[in-house]
Symmetry: C2
């Protein structure tokens, strides 16, 4: 059972000072809410999105086919994050391309489209922007903040930037920072985009073009890293796209996996913004709460006082279980209340979006244990 | 101790019929030899190269700095494959870009540069071309054929195409075929090249340009897959390229790993041919000796009668140890003489080119056990 969702917009005129030195003097956030805020205002759950997702977390848009939110299997009435009990908020981050202020918007100072001049944003900046949205909604403390992958980094950062405002942090398929290989993949994707002749140094909007070649390559590559070796072999293996014999061609499609990746790349290049891709991969690269503690994650997490649920997936080689365990160990060293599950799932990094029975049951059970005033009182 | 190597060229006028249906009506092979062929002509060792290597396996070129062969740590006087005992042959495969007939050469039929019209070549075709070179040299049987990665596929294919001509097959860091993820990475690299506006459908030579953007991306991506996660973390980690603080930039280099990859990509794009990249990745994709036996590798390897050494490396995720074990198990099922070593090495796929003491000692010991007439008799 799902429900109709309605995207909302909130404008902010107070400048947002950014960690990288830039500033967003005025901006808007696109967001959605599901369920009802209770009288105590203590049942809000903030969902943070990853690279290519948005504020449209659950439900569908009236009259639009295939408009189901990206985490609709997790969030909704009677679902693991039950909107009959919780007031759930999905918000699009600044710099993204789904409605919140981003590189395709006009800089109020220059009256020019931002393009490559959009200021660099970080996980910490996003958390600050999200906190302002909560302020405006009159929510002092979240029942939980939750995210997967880059969204998990935001959930972790919430527990450090606003320790008193988070009762539970749910950090799924995430990591305390990117390792060299993660950064390397991001860099290849960025170079594919920035060396596309249609990129024009990031000011392609003015030229009426889109660096689709680069976006396609970025997405194809990203997609490989979201899947496990196993699931790719099961789903595609060496199956041919057509017929039973090779065409013997260097440029035509031979294997189904090639067709699948090209399709994913083409689709992505039709809707995703190239500057957003650069900004968000950089936010991933930069996140590293332990950096200011000489790499000591235990010290970095000492200020967190939320309760934690961490989840990782055995076949996730992008954000491997070992990376989640680093966070768990640092929390345990700080004697924090932390639950950790390593789910044996075949789907690689993408598992956090999948219908894995044990995973959904686990999250359901965790949220059932989060205390709030009954929503019926409101 | 190393030695001066001299590249040689041999012309062939008898057409080479190719598995994919094409034909090379006349062609040349670039090759090198080290050591002396003995009177019995039973001490020849053929070295097969991988994606971006050549016939220049060992030694250096007189008067050229940094011209050491790509497997010079393995092959030479007193080295694991000892050129005091063995007559070692390195040969560049057709379709490559290091001297043997390739896409940048002129098609004798059309008098046009081949470009994208160079016929698709396979591992089996390369083995046939290599066999003709041996014919011309009067070598009926190889003491050993040896290769790593794609070179290992050629060594394996030798044992199947010319079972009587190979006494030992040394197959290192290889696989019986590519899996879906391997093909996927190849496809991303190919798309980066073919969608580069300077590719011109593969006929870029006529336009006086080179699709360097695509080649750079292909190489950066390839490079990530040659290294292990561990070695990247050890070598680069999150170290910054300059200074101790971020520049906060989406396009400038921040991390050392980015600088390293860009450098590798730039260097590669200066010397490697784009059509060759397509051809060689396709040869990788197509190789699958079990395909004509409904995927039954044991049946496919039944015709091999060589003795085998297989070596894999624990951190190689491109051609993981499990893939070598598939070959070992199929050979054992056929009751063939097979030695297998899984080397605990940190370097990933690139380990097969590295100075790992145990690995080099193992190969040394294996070759010491290969019987030949004493070379001194010649």
């Amino acid at each position: 059972m799902t429900f109709a969702a309605i995207p909302l917009t909130m404008h902010f005129d107070k400048p947002l000072l950014l960690k990288g030195g830039g500033v967003l003097s005025a901006y808007q956030l696109q967001y959605e809410t599901y369920g009802r805020l209770n009288q105590n205002r203590d049942n809000a759950v903030l969902i943070c999105h990853a690279l290519n997702a948005s504020h449209h977390v659950a439900g569908y848009y009236e009259g639009q086919a295939k408009s189901t939110g990206w985490w609709d299997n997790m969030i909704g009435p009677g679902k693991p994050v039950d909107t009959e009990r919780f007031f759930v908020i999905g918000v699009n981050n600044p710099g993204s391309c789904f409605g919140s202020t981003g590189p395709m918007h006009t800089d109020p100072h220059t009256q020019q489209v931002y393009g490559a001049d959009f200021p660099v944003v970080t996980v910490e900046d996003w958390v600050n922007a999200q906190a302002r949205l909560l302020d405006a909604m009159g929510i002092t403390q979240l029942a939980a903040v939750m995210g997967g992958s880059l969204g998990g980094m935001q959930a972790l950062s919430w527990s450090l930037q606003y320790p008193q405002r988070v009762r539970h942090a749910v950090v799924i398929a995430s990591a305390p920072n990117l390792n060299a290989e993660n950064i390397a993949f991001n860099e290849v994707a960025r170079r594919a985009i920035t060396t596309d002749p249609d990129f024009h140094g990031g000011h392609f909007y003015a030229h009426g073009v889109v660096p689709k070649r680069g976006l396609r390559i970025a997405r194809m590559l990203g997609h490989i890293t979201y899947l496990s070796d196993d699931v790719m072999n099961t789903k595609f293996g060496r199956a041919l796209q057509s017929g039973e014999v090779f065409k013997y061609s260097t440029q035509e499609i031979e294997f189904q996996i090639e067709s699948y990746l090209r399709y994913q790349g083409d689709k992505f290049s039709e809707y995703f913004d190239a500057n957003t891709y650069l900004l968000i991969t950089r936010a991933l690269d930069y996140f590293d709460p332990a950096a200011q503690y000489q790499g000591n994650l235990t010290k970095a997490l000492a200020q967190a006082c939320a309760k934690f649920l961490l989840v990782s997936f055995t076949t996730d080689w992008r954000f491997a279980p070992a990376r989640s365990r680093e966070i768990v160990q640092a929390l345990v060293a700080n004697q924090r209340d932390v639950s950790y599950a390593e789910i044996d799932a075949p789907h690689g990094h993408d598992a956090f979006l999948m219908d894995d029975r044990r995973y959904l049951k686990l999250v359901r059970s965790y949220f059932a244990g989060i205390q709030t005033q009954s929503v019926e009182v409101a």
